[in-house]
C-alpha cells in the first residue's frame, strides 16, 4: 500500500466540528433564556424574605442554563423541521455548523449541571421543578405534542410558564399562590402569542408538518381562540394587584395593557384578508411581547424598590 492510499479526502473523512463558541451559545436560545431569567427573577423577588443576593444570582444562573439546555435539546430533536422554515433555517444544526450529536451532548450535560447546581445552591424542590421543566419542554412538548396536536403550545406552554415557580421555590423552598398566578399569566399568554405568529407563518408550519391551529382548524377558529385567550388573560394579568402582592401602579398598568391586548386580538379577529390581516397578526405578536415584558418589569421594579427601602 502506497503512502497515497492513506490520504482520505474531505467527503469520506470523519467530520471535525467547525462550530465556534457562539454557535453553542445560539443553541441555548438566548432570547428565550433572557425571558426566563426575567420571569424567574420575578418569582425570586416575590419571596417574603429575600435570599442572599449571591444565592439569588447563582439560582438565576442555574435556571437560565437549565432553560438554555432545554433549548439545545429542542434544536437537537427538531433539526429536521428547523431546516424547512425560514425562521429557524439559520440555527447552528440546519446551517451545518454543528452536528446533532454535539447538541445532544451539550444539552444533556448542561441540563444535569443546571439541576444539580440549583439543588446545591438553593434547594432540591427548586431543582426538581427545574428538572420537570426541562423534561416537559423536551419530552412532552418537543418530542410528543409539537408534531401531533394543534394544542401543542397550549399544553407545552406550561414549560415556559414554570420559571417564576422555580424562582420562588429557589428563594423559599415552597410553592405558593403568588408564583402560581405568575405561572397562570405566562400560560394564558402563550397561545395568543404563538397563534398570532402561526397565522402569518401558516404555510411554513404546514410545509414542516407541524399541526398548528390555523393549519388544522382554520384561521377563523384560530382568531376566535386568540380573542378568547386574550380575554381570559387580561384579568389574570391584574390578579397580582387584586391578590395583594403587587401595587396599585401595577394594577393600573396591567389593566391598561390587558385592554390594549384585547384590542389587538379584536383587530386580528376582524381583519381577515390580505396585508391588513398579516399586519394585525404581527402587531398582536409583538404587542404580546411588550405586554408580558412590561407586566414583569413593573413587578420586578416595585419589588426591588421595596427591597431597597427595606434595606435602607
Amino acid at each position: 500500500m502506497s503512502d497515497a492510499s492513506f490520504i482520505i479526502d474531505d467527503a469520506s473523512a470523519p467530520r471535525a466540528p467547525v462550530a465556534a463558541p457562539g454557535d453553542y451559545f445560539a443553541l441555548l436560545k438566548p432570547r428565550v433564556m433572557s425571558l426566563v431569567v426575567f420571569t424567574a427573577l420575578a418569582g425570586i423577588l416575590l419571596a417574603p424574605v429575600a435570599p442572599h443576593p449571591f444565592i439569588a444570582f447563582a439560582s438565576l444562573l442555574a435556571i437560565a442554563v437549565g432553560a438554555g439546555a432545554s433549548g439545545a435539546l429542542n434544536m437537537w430533536y427538531d433539526a429536521d423541521i428547523d431546516g424547512l422554515m425560514t425562521r429557524t433555517r439559520g440555527r447552528p444544526i440546519p446551517a451545518g455548523r454543528l452536528g446533532r450529536e454535539e447538541a445532544l451532548a451539550f444539552g444533556l450535560f448542561l441540563s444535569i449541571m443546571a439541576v444539580f447546581t440549583l439543588g446545591l445552591v438553593a434547594n432540591w424542590l427548586a431543582a426538581a421543578l427545574l428538572a420537570f421543566t426541562i423534561f416537559f419542554y423536551v419530552v412532552v412538548y418537543t418530542m410528543w405534542l409539537k408534531r401531533s396536536t394543534p394544542m401543542n403550545i397550549v399544553i407545552g406552554g406550561a414549560a415556559g410558564a414554570l420559571p417564576p415557580v422555580v424562582g420562588f421555590a429557589a428563594a423559599t423552598g415552597a410553592v405558593d399562590l403568588s408564583s402560581l398566578v405568575l405561572f397562570g399569566i405566562i400560560f394564558m399568554w402563550t397561545p395568543p402569542h404563538f397563534w398570532a405568529l402561526a397565522l402569518v407563518k401558516r404555510e411554513e408550519y404546514g410545509a414542516a408538518g407541524i399541526p398548528m391551529l390555523p393549519n388544522v382548524h382554520g384561521e377563523t377558529r384560530t382568531r376566535l381562540e386568540i380573542l378568547a385567550y386574550s380575554i381570559a388573560l387580561a384579568p389574570i394579568g391584574v390578579a397580582p394587584y387584586l391578590l395583594g402582592f403587587a401595587s396599585p401602579v401595577y394594577g393600573v398598568v396591567s389593566l391598561l395593557l390587558g385592554v390594549a391586548l384585547i384590542a389587538c386580538a379584536v383587530w386580528v379577529y376582524r381583519r381577515r384578508d390580505g396585508e391588513p390581516a398579516r399586519r394585525a397578526a404581527m402587531r398582536l405578536f409583538f404587542f404580546s411581547i411588550v405586554y408580558l415584558s412590561l407586566l414583569f418589569m413593573v413587578l420586578v421594579i416595585e419589588r426591588l424598590l421595596a427591597l431597597s427601602s427595606w434595606l435602607a
Partner: protein, 61 residues
Amino acid sequence: MTIGRPENTSEPEEGVVLTAEQAKSRRARNIAIGVAVALFVALFYFVTIVKLGGNVVPRTG
C-alpha cells in the same frame, strides 16, 4: 481535512489533520470551556462562603 500521512512530507503526521478553520474554532472552544470551568469554580467558592457565613467562627487559642 486529511487523515493519515500527507504525501511528500518528510515528517509523517498521524491521525486527523485539522484545517486552519477547524483548528481556530477548536482553540476558541477550548478557551470558552476554560473560562466556563473557571467561572463555575468561582461560583461554588463564593456560594460556599455565603452559605457558611457567620457559622465560621475564627478559632482562638
